[in-house]
Symmetry: C2
């Protein structure tokens, strides 16, 4: 890695494939033990090569968050893709084209949404109903069994569609204050999905249950009656997941290598080349109540060290990052050195960085959906 | 624009060139009246075609925030480029290559920074000293005349370099609470720069003064002893600038067209396809103390309407945006419609969107620095 670090001239997203493989192995094993399908969300890495690490472990079904992303992965050989985003009527042509190429599943978040496209869908598309189990972003409320039944009946009667089941994203785990709260949300989510499932099964439908959020899937050991999980972020993890208790810091598999361009001893600050266009403006709040945009580690032979205590990436503008540094770090670091920044939200950082450099020095491409 | 709107399938950054031209004209005129050089910051648009609108008005000097951006614009014919970012020693080879191609100016934010590269610079590079006039991100504090003089002497004695003068970015205008405060910061900035300039001139140096921030340059009418201004954002403006009083809402020249994918009448919410990977997570705080990530307008024939009152883009995740909508908007809008989102920070939104669509339906490319 030292030689690789020498070759880095500008903000670069390093990926530690040893950690990535461990993260994937852990989730694959957990899915197998629980006898659930792992349908990982690929919006985190957006890379066919990272995708192959899942293929090697016999994962053959994936989740994406856009039609373009589905096209990219279909073009890279994936043959079972769920677009876990409310169906966008403006992309019907692309959706129908994809359905001829791959087993495609789409999401109806309401009867209203279904009725905008119901007569224009290609044959053989799988349909999931999005259930709102408490996150309140989209979907039919879990206790609105009448509306859920009505939509199920409509889908079932639509010859173009195959009714897959009910799907939810318990994104409110991201606001949880403790691991116990995440467990509780997970249990509540499964219970609410079970209630819906039982109702629909009583009406004679076959119903699969799909859930997915990295905090829940990472923390919980038993998935109960769930058929399928769709976590995504676990492939890299990040500081947000660490704060939630979904991973340990050593599981974080990406770090942004950023050149030091200034030091200010009076203010205990280090300025790096690395800002909002590299890391995103996602932040967390530290114990002093102040926002931070990343934590600071040093490059070492095999990757990077643990985060250095009392140091924060405390502000960022378009290309600059300002680190509030400990005396130790200030003494250690010179202009021209590299610092390794652990990201708050690896999905957004990866999307901005556009490619990866492995700790062995190999570039891994990712898709661009511009 | 109605026909163009019909063709939009996914989040798309619309640009209104009538507004862009007006914004440019206003700043060009102000610079001329004040007899200062306008060296616009091109990090906002990152586009050779938008750049040409400046060329047409005889602007021939530009500012950029990275070496890669300098290479892009040098490749597009620009022959006088300032990289307004502390010199990054890891990119010296690129910097020296650029210096053979164009009149290149770089920035030294400290003597320390200068000494890491002083003996390795190509001939003919222009050198600016970055002065910290109160923003406290980087640069030598304005009253540390000893350090400024020492660095000036070093640059002056370096045969490879040409001493240009002193440069500052009064970024603290972005935290100002009123137009009056921005005027005050501007005046203070100029006074502090004058003090440094007078000291260096007394030592026999020729010293230009370069300042630049869109709020200051937009609000102030007289630039005093300043030689050069470097605003960038004014080409598009955005909600942050409007809140600061640097522009009116009708000056905002970009808006993100986003498809509506869900409506929730119980929560008064509309979900759009348009999230953090399109708009960035930059936010402002509304009068209720809540964050918002954009404001909502409707597409009309020539572009978009004024922002609709009592509506906010109140949360965003990777691809979703959730709008807190007024009853009027909820009644007006259906799934499949387009809404036009005014961005909080147009530089970050443009960087994420990667290209523009004019309100006449023509695509304008921008650079990618991945």
């Amino acid at each position: 890695m030292n030689e690789i670090a020498n070759g880095i001239t500008k903000p670069t997203l390093l990926v530690d494939l040893v950690k990535v493989n461990k993260n994937i192995d852990r989730m694959v094993k957990k899915a197998r033990v629980n006898d659930v399908i792992l349908r990982p969300h690929f919006k985190t890495h957006q890379s066919s090569e990272i995708g192959r690490l899942f293929q090697e472990r016999n994962v053959d079904a994936i989740t994406v968050s856009s039609v373009d992303m589905a096209e990219y992965f279909a073009g890279n050989g994936w043959r079972d893709i769920t677009i876990a985003f409310p169906v966008n009527p403006r992309q019907l042509e692309q959706i129908n084209g994809l359905a001829r190429q791959t087993k495609l599943n789409i999401l109806f978040e309401s009867l209203n949404s279904y009725l905008t496209v119901d007569k224009r869908l290609a044959n053989g598309i799988g349909a999931w109903i999005k259930i709102d189990t408490g996150y309140h972003r989209s979907g039919i409320h879990w206790n609105d069994l009448e509306e859920i039944s009505r939509l199920t009946r409509n889908i079932d009667e639509n010859r173009a569609l195959f009714f897959e089941g009910i799907l939810t994203h318990a994104g409110h785990t991201y606001k949880a204050g403790s691991v116990e709260e995440i467990r509780k949300i997970f249990l509540e989510t499964v219970n609410r999905m079970d209630l819906v499932k039982n109702e629909l099964e009583a009406q004679g439908y076959e119903v699969k249950v799909s859930i997915g959020d990295t905090p829940g899937c990472s923390i919980v050991e038993k998935f109960g009656s769930v058929d399928e999980i769709r976590p995504g972020n676990f492939v890299f993890y990040d500081l947000m997941q660490e704060k939630l208790g979904a991973c340990s810091e050593s599981d974080i598999a990406v770090a942004a290598a950023c050149p030091v361009v200034a030091k200010n001893l009076n203010r205990n600050e280090i300025v790096i080349y690395g800002g909002a266009v590299h890391l995103s403006k996602e932040f967390l709040i530290n114990t002093d109540g102040d926002p931070y945009y990343g934590r600071i580690t040093l490059p070492i032979n095999k990757g990077w060290t643990n985060a250095i205590s009392d140091c924060w990436l405390s502000s960022i503008s378009q290309e600059h990052g300002v680190i509030t540094a400990s005396k130790d770090l200030l003494e250690m670091v010179e202009i021209g050195d590299l610092l390794m920044i652990l990201p708050i939200h690896s999905c957004l950082t990866a999307n901005l960085m556009g490619k990866y450099l492995t700790t062995e020095g190999r570039t891994i491409d990712m898709a661009s959906f511009l």
